[in-house]
């Protein structure tokens, strides 16, 4: 086994004599081109997204909080006084109708869509950062 190791080291000399044919100049040119491109190129979309994302989140949160009535703003419907003997025959008019209740659904759907968009943008940034290196 010792002979094999010696032989491996000796035979490696053949390959060690091999030289790359690419010149230093080509690397210099590539680096110079890259530096030039970095200085002149417009901001990339992911970078733009990176700083605009927190602003978008803050704006969305503010919009959601302002658009949603606080607990103190919500008026509890007056509970009709019903005597034991009274059997209601009609629904009280001051309770929330089905349309009123379901009117909050579009707001939630928009919020979900916005969240989903933000998550997609975040995934895209992470993906691009991973693939860039």
């Amino acid at each position: 086994m010792k002979d094999l190791e010696t032989q491996l080291r000796q035979d490696a000399e053949t390959l060690r004599s091999a030289k790359s044919e690419s010149a230093d100049a080509s690397l210099r040119r590539a680096i110079a081109a890259e530096q030039h491109a970095t200085h002149t190129r417009a901001p990339l979309a992911p970078r733009w997204l990176a700083w605009s994302l927190p602003i978008a989140v803050a704006a969305a949160a503010a919009w959601f909080l302002i658009g949603t009535p606080t607990t103190s703003e919500v008026q509890e419907p007056a509970i009709p006084q019903i005597a034991n003997s009274d059997v209601p025959t009609t629904l009280p008019t001051d309770t929330l109708s089905l349309e009123q209740v379901s009117s909050t659904a579009p707001l939630e759907a928009e919020w979900e869509a916005l969240l989903s968009d933000l998550e997609r943008a975040r995934d895209q940034i992470e993906q691009e950062l991973r693939t860039e290196f």
Partner: protein, 170 residues
């Protein structure tokens, strides 16, 4: 006076591209040999060297000085090699008659036998150890493997080569 590697790295990290090019010229041949033995084609190896050097320049700020600079370059360069053809991924060896590195190595060269016998990653570990004198620890880092994997694979590769040589001579 010639600058040391540490000085060049420091300068290059500060944006000195000339310092980086000098650093690159010190490692170009070493990286090229490593890639040529691995992929077999001179042109592919040359391209991978160039791409690896450019990536190293871009991400130099992430280089960790605890490791040798060459080890870091090996890690980058391995990602730059062209992917093997689907039809050859099942084969145990990487050597094909078309590989120009096979023609460069003499028929009796042990590395030629190693290319035809060992799996690419085992061949790479063997080359880094015997061809470039890298430590077990550096090889493990370059290949993103454990220290135990490196030691076991070096031993297996030696045994495999000894068996093949025994068969050839015997």
């Amino acid at each position: 006076m010639e600058k040391t590697e540490t000085q060049l790295i420091g300068l290059a990290k500060g944006g000195d591209s000339a310092a980086f090019c000098e650093l690159a010229s010190r490692y170009r041949d070493q990286l090229f040999r490593f890639l040529w033995l691995r992929c077999g084609q001179r042109a592919d190896a040359e391209d991978a060297v160039q791409e690896a050097m450019l990536s190293a320049w871009r991400y130099l700020s992430t280089y960790d000085e605890r490791w040798q600079f060459s080890t870091w370059l090996y890690r980058i360069a391995l990602r730059k090699l062209p992917k093997p053809q689907p039809s050859t991924t099942d084969l145990d060896n990487v050597g094909t008659p078309d590989d120009d590195v096979e023609q460069f190595l003499e028929r009796a060269n042990l590395w030629r036998v190693a290319r035809q016998t060992l799996k690419p990653e085992a061949l790479t570990a063997l080359w880094l150890y015997y061809g470039e004198g890298a430590t077990h620890r550096d090889i493990a880092h370059a290949l993103s493997r454990s220290l135990a994997w490196v030691k076991v694979n070096l031993m297996r590769s030696r045994n495999r080569l000894a068996t093949v040589l025994g068969e050839k001579t015997g």
